[in-house]
Symmetry: C2
Subunit: 328 residues, 2 copies
Amino acid sequence: MNVRAGDVFVMMKPELDRVEDVLVSAATIDYPMINALLRAIVSGGGKRLRPLLLMLAAKAFDQENDRAVHVAAGVELLHTASLVHDDSIDKAALRRGNPTLNTELSTGAVILIGDYLFAQSAILAAKPENPRVMVIFATTLAEICDGQIRETLEAHRIDQSMAEYEARIYGKTAALFAGAAEMGAVLGGGTDDQVANLRQIGSDLGMAFQVIDDVLDLRESSETIGKPAGNDLRQGVVTVPVMRYISGLQADHPHRELIERIVAGEETDQVTIDALIGDIRASDALAQAGEIAQEYVAAARARLTSIPNEDVREGLDQLLDLATIRSV
Amino acid sequence: MNVRAGDVFVMMKPELDRVEDVLVSAATIDYPMINALLRAIVSGGGKRLRPLLLMLAAKAFDQENDRAVHVAAGVELLHTASLVHDDSIDKAALRRGNPTLNTELSTGAVILIGDYLFAQSAILAAKPENPRVMVIFATTLAEICDGQIRETLEAHRIDQSMAEYEARIYGKTAALFAGAAEMGAVLGGGTDDQVANLRQIGSDLGMAFQVIDDVLDLRESSETIGKPAGNDLRQGVVTVPVMRYISGLQADHPHRELIERIVAGEETDQVTIDALIGDIRASDALAQAGEIAQEYVAAARARLTSIPNEDVREGLDQLLDLATIRSV
């Protein structure tokens, strides 16, 4: 984070501290060995953007948002659970610069810890006993699974459409942002229109966030993002900067075929892949993808005006900046 | 099933057919390849005991139990999801005599399908928008995870206490039986006492069911139970029949050490293990375990008298028989 250094994080510190307390007690288990691992996963980095968004959405309509704290912690645990399973599915060795559980534990134990975190997240989400929140929570979980299934089945094609890419990143990231904002607005007592508005802001924020993540994956060095540069491409996952790069190539350009072979796992020579990533960086594909993110941000920003609470409006505005203007 | 051939299944057929319809539509996904797999998993055997129990519990207080149908299907999907992940954790190759997903799919895909089923089960459980049901559902999910963690960490000790064994099989099996009965009673409109009573009946039924499962694992041939006889022991999982067998051995009996080596994975000779299983069968350990199951059944049966609906009382009575007097 390098822009307007976290005013919204300062403003929301009391709420985020309470979320943190709930997180720590929810990630506690009677087995010392697993306990240490759980603590490490749950407190291992992350900006708590999803709980922050949920608490902001609740605050938009209600200065007292006790009930939202547990659900905010639940949303963060759901995110963590899905990362744990994703890393296992992808067999990723690094996440946020730290070794993932895969390097330390058997697959069975990783599945188990992910499931445990899912269960704890559901318990936290059920805490306010709000039926609407539970429906949103369950639906969001299904959307996240859908995103992961799409990534597994569809991401490895260089001819995918923008709509396919968007459906995929919606499930991967925007669904939980949308759900967090919606649940917060419901718990804060927003009207149906206000809830729908917050949900759409959350969704657009999440979409922008993921597009920029996909740009950073290609743009940044291994040291900065804590995993190998171009990791998506190396895993065979085609993201929008690569799609834009391809569409800028002439029909007979050898890089079309090269990318196809990388995605199919047929080309694994790291020097060749590094050179390709260099060419993608030198093209305007990353800038084009950045513009797509800016469109999402602009759409969300246009919706801010209807939010009654000025602090919340300003806080969301900062999050929208953060989504796009960041190095990590 | 070989006793009182399924009167309760006949009585509850209309309800179970409706549950089946919901199951089929919930286990539908847009991807043909995964769709076929999901269908096969969800319709692949199983007696639908958990939905049956939930529908019976609802019927105890309410002849109209529309809202319970979705939750009943949700409970079955939760069960299926946990089996999918369990098989992956155990690396089991056979379940109900059929190859598990592990033999056909990557671990990543198995995790994904399990997660998808979890998500669908949560959506179904959220359908009646009953906060109490959602709390029970989430708590049950956590208890199931706890059982699996206990099985992974504690089951591989030959000196475990009866309390440890019971805590483990509660999570593995009884928690979902208890939760199903409780959710059904809540949805049917039972009083708090009636709900607590049904929950305890469900729990005792589940405990009896799992103890008998553990007996059958040792007693039956591979052909009958669809997996290798003594599979638990071969996996290093110590169940109550083995615990009883050990406590009947003299202190210096060589089988103590043999079992310890099998559980530790140091003894894998199949002829040696088969011979041990023969000795366990010839002892009274299986009968002793059967008596423990009968105690649970007797406790549950004593609670039946307070159930107002005679058909439901009779149906639960049959399920209690089924739990203990069965070959599979």
